[in-house]
């Protein structure tokens, strides 16, 4: 069990994710139990994938919402994709904002949906910024462990 400064930093950062509600402690711990020595990059890969895909989903959502008429099918699909993936990795704030957007959208209020989307984008940008750093640290911490 490595306890280098890097690892300590990782711990602190992870804890701050939890404290700020950006990541769900339970879900992340659960994912960590799935990781093992055969697949040490599991969590790192998940986060990397999420960062990439969530940006894509949000872009699609934005396009769909801006389109005239609104592209409902794409919206639905993207909303659930984002909801599913964010819930799966424990990205609670993103999941929450996506939920809000979904509700507003289903109510039919496009303008409010757009406003909600903006909020989601902000949360996502904030989360992404932090997670990118975290993933980088994870990568750095790895070699020293093995």
């Amino acid at each position: 069990m490595a306890n280098t400064p890097l690892h300590q930093q990782l711990s602190i950062m992870k804890q701050s994710f939890f404290d700020e509600g950006l990541l769900d402690h339970e879900q992340v711990s659960y994912l960590e139990t799935l990781e093992n020595e055969d697949d040490p990059d599991f969590i790192e890969n998940l986060f990397t994938m999420f960062l990439r895909d969530s940006s894509r989903y949000i872009d699609s959502i934005e396009k769909a919402l801006e389109a005239t008429p609104v592209d409902y099918s794409v919206m639905e699909r993207m909303l659930y994709q984002l909801k599913g993936s964010s819930a799966s990795i424990g990205a609670s704030k993103i999941n929450g904002e996506t939920n809000t957007l979904r509700k507003v959208f289903h109510d039919g209020d496009i303008e409010s949906a757009k406003a909600s989307l903006q909020k989601l984008k902000e949360e996502h940008a904030n989360f992404k910024e932090k997670l990118v750093i975290y993933v980088r640290m994870l990568k750095e911490a790895k070699p020293s462990e093995y």
């Binding site: 879900q27 659960y30 994912l31 799935l34 697949d39 599991f42 890969n45 998940l46 994938m49 999420f50 895909d53 389109a67 008429p69 592209d71 409902y72 099918s73 794409v74 639905e76 699909r77 659930y80 994709q81 909801k83 599913g84 993936s85 819930a87 799966s88 990795i89 424990g90 959208f105 289903h106 039919g108």
Partner: protein
């Protein structure tokens, strides 16, 4: 580790279909989800459970994997919202083609969608984020299914022993018990009847020879069913007609069961859209047992034959006539029972209500529930021959997506919209003929709708009628254009055609529209020739669309009906001229323009394709239909005073040069 866009499976496990000592270790699971994160997590969890996992991020790929190696997988887990194909559609296709248990999953935990999973035959529905605990016991679905199939086989297996009495028994059981998915009702009902059979269940055996329902086989099956008439299509006769050595009655029986469910779903799915009272499916199921003498014979026959709740039929009809539920009025006289498909559909009217949808769906399913991977050219063939109806279904489905759940699709995300494409990818509206039948509308609509939605086979973006517009119509407005190309009509149409060449009653239509795609029918068939009828299509669409939309549902309805009937005529002729399922595609378009719905006429055009569809397939339909259509329209007019619609439709016909045959 990630195999995005690439699915590989290692079929190293033995005991395909059997139970090994280490069961469930080695259970072969196929996971389909286009979100990479979820796919990876699932794979990881399934591996921990010691299952053999194959990942897939595209439904199409999953289908081809399954088709290539039907016995290579034990269970499928699929996401609901996928870009290339709606999860429910995939679900139905798998059920029809491979009869594997399918578990649906999604972050969408809405009641409606979960119900949809039930009605479409999913053996379970998991909400994301998924935990390993939920996956540990999925093997039970595999065992359960095998048990039911075995039971089914045993029941009918007595045929070899010359058990006539058994035949009867098994036929009964066949109808009800073979398809595990979603037919809980049947199973329950049948429980009593099958009591003695149950005792013969041998769960430990779990061995059951699996028949691979290839496209050709399925085509033969559908042809046989159509030939016999859905109400008379009993496994024994179907088997005789098919004349396939080695095929047993049990095989046919269980396939028939699924087919019926598929059709039923098609009609029912359309109703369920955007969370609108999706009671359709449940309603259908619920009313399943209560056959009322709605239109009398037809309904009952239909109900009996295809296990469609008589009530739903009645409701549909009633709805169609006067929006009164359960009032068997205006039975669709036009029903072309003579048609190959002789779906009771005619009775089903679009009627308001989901129930109607269901009925329609049933009908439609019958026709196009056949998820076969028919090549486009196959579709073309279908288009022309009477049998094509059945094949069309197959084709449509085959196209890529076997719009098994056309209806579903429709309600699902529109993005799929390829249902039509599927069928028509090669030819564009192939089915039109079937779609043209207005009456079928109910069925067609649902079918069509489903088709549209389902046809997500990624072919082209045909039309996603289903575009889930949260507003009334589920069809995506944008996709209407796409519809034209899609084979929309085809797939779903099959079921519909039988209904009636006539247009559907306005009421029915409108209600359909409301729902998910059910309505779509009209749109796609009508325009047998997309190009020609494009304008028509749109109009119809609007008509249809408006239905859902709301407000003028009334007028829409009438429009639809009129349109249907008119379309029928037109469709018929158009299809003839086109000789392709074009009608269908055209139909699709109109239907979905949920947003645009405002043009009543469109609705009418929609009906046409349906008619065309039927007309084409049924050949005789033509002549018969026409008169019917007019009759119907007259009726409509009386009821709805939609004279203008009629004339508009007729005018369209003339303009299109289709002129009723």
């Amino acid at each position: 580790m990630l195999n995005l866009g690439y699915c590989k499976g290692s079929m190293s496990t033995a005991s395909s279909g059997g139970v090994s000592d280490q069961f469930p270790v080695g259970l072969r699971v196929l996971v389909v989800d286009d979100d990479p994160t979820c796919l990876v997590i699932l794979e990881k969890m399934l591996r921990i459970c010691l299952y053999e996992v194959t990942k897939c991020n595209r439904a199409e790929i999953a289908l081809s994997l399954l088709r290539e190696n039907r016995n290579g997988y034990d269970i499928v887990i699929s996401d609901v919202h996928m870009p290339d194909m709606d999860g429910f559609k995939l679900l139905e296709l798998i059920g029809l083609e491979m009869d594997l248990p399918v578990i649906m999953m999604s972050a969408d935990d809405g009641k409606n969608v979960v119900m949809k999973g039930v009605t479409h035959g999913a053996c379970d529905y998991l909400i994301k984020p998924i935990r390993i605990e939920a996956l540990k016991n999925i093997w039970q679905h595999v065992v359960r299914k095998k048990k039911n199939e075995w039971k089914d086989m045993e029941q009918s297996g007595s045929v070899e022993e010359g058990g006539d009495r058994q035949q009867k028994q098994s036929e009964d059981a066949d109808y009800s018990s073979s398809a595990n998915e979603g037919s809980w009702k049947n199973s329950k009902r049948r429980k009593d009847e099958e009591e003695e059979v149950d005792e013969r269940d041998d769960t430990s055996t779990l061995k059951k020879p699996r028949v691979v329902w290839s496209v050709e086989l399925h085509q033969q099956f559908v042809a046989a069913v159509n030939q016999l008439g859905i109400d008379k299509a009993v496994p024994k006769k179907i088997l005789e007609l098919m004349n396939v050595p080695g095929l047993t009655r049990e095989n046919v029986a269980s396939h028939l069961q699924k087919y019926r469910l598929y059709l039923r779903r098609l009609s029912g799915v359309s109703q369920h859209q955007s969370g609108m009272g999706n009671s359709f499916i449940s309603t259908q199921e619920a009313t399943y047992g209560s056959l009322s003498s709605l239109n009398g014979l037809d309904l009952q026959t239909l109900a009996a034959a295809s296990q469609i709740p008589a009530q739903s039929l009645a409701t549909l009809q009633a709805a169609g006539l006067g929006r009164s539920t359960a009032k068997p009025r205006m039975p669709m006289p036009i029903v072309d029972q003579r048609n190959l498909f002789s779906f009771e559909n005619p009775k089903l009217r679009f009627g308001e209500g989901q129930q109607q949808h269901l009925n329609n769906g049933k009908q439609i399913n019958l026709l196009h529930g056949i998820p076969t991977t028919m090549e486009p050219k196959q579709l073309a063939n279908m288009h022309h021959s009477a049998q094509s109806l059945g094949s069309m279904n197959m084709q449509l489905n085959a196209h890529g997506d076997q719009s098994g759940s056309l209806l579903m699709q429709m309600s699902q995300q529109q993005s799929r919209g390829q249902i039509l494409n599927e069928a028509t990818s090669s030819q564009v509206p192939r089915l039109p003929s079937s779609i043209g039948q207005p009456i079928v509308n109910n069925a067609l609509a649902s079918g069509v709708l489903a088709r549209n939605g389902l046809a997500e086979s990624g072919r082209g973006t045909g039309f996603n009628p289903v575009s889930q517009s949260s507003s009334t119509m589920n069809f995506p407005l944008n996709t209407t254009a796409e519809l034209t190309a899609t084979s929309f009509a085809l797939g779903s149409a099959p079921g519909v055609p039988s209904l009636t060449s006539k247009g559907m009653f306005p009421e029915e239509i409108s209600s359909e529209i409301k729902g998910p795609g059910g309505f779509i029918m009209p749109s796609y068939d009508i325009f047998s020739d997309l190009q020609h009828h494009r304008s028509h299509d749109w109009e119809l669409q609007n008509a249809g669309m408006t239905f859902n939309g709301s407000q003028q549902s009334n007028s829409l309805q009438s429009n639809v009906d009129v349109a249907s009937s008119v379309l029928a005529h037109q469709g018929f002729s158009s299809s003839q001229s086109n000789g392709q399922g074009r009608n269908i595609s055209a139909v699709g378009k109109p239907m979905f323009s949920a947003g645009d719905a405002t043009d009543h006429v469109n609705a009418q055009s929609l009906g046409q394709p349906l008619n065309n569809f039927f007309a084409e397939n049924l050949v005789r339909v033509k002549t018969e239909r026409v008169p019917d259509a007019s009759l119907q329209t007259t009726l409509f007019n009386e009821q709805f005073g939609q004279e203008d619609l009629m004339s508009a439709l007729l005018k369209q016909q003339q303009q299109a040069g289709i002129g009723p045959a």
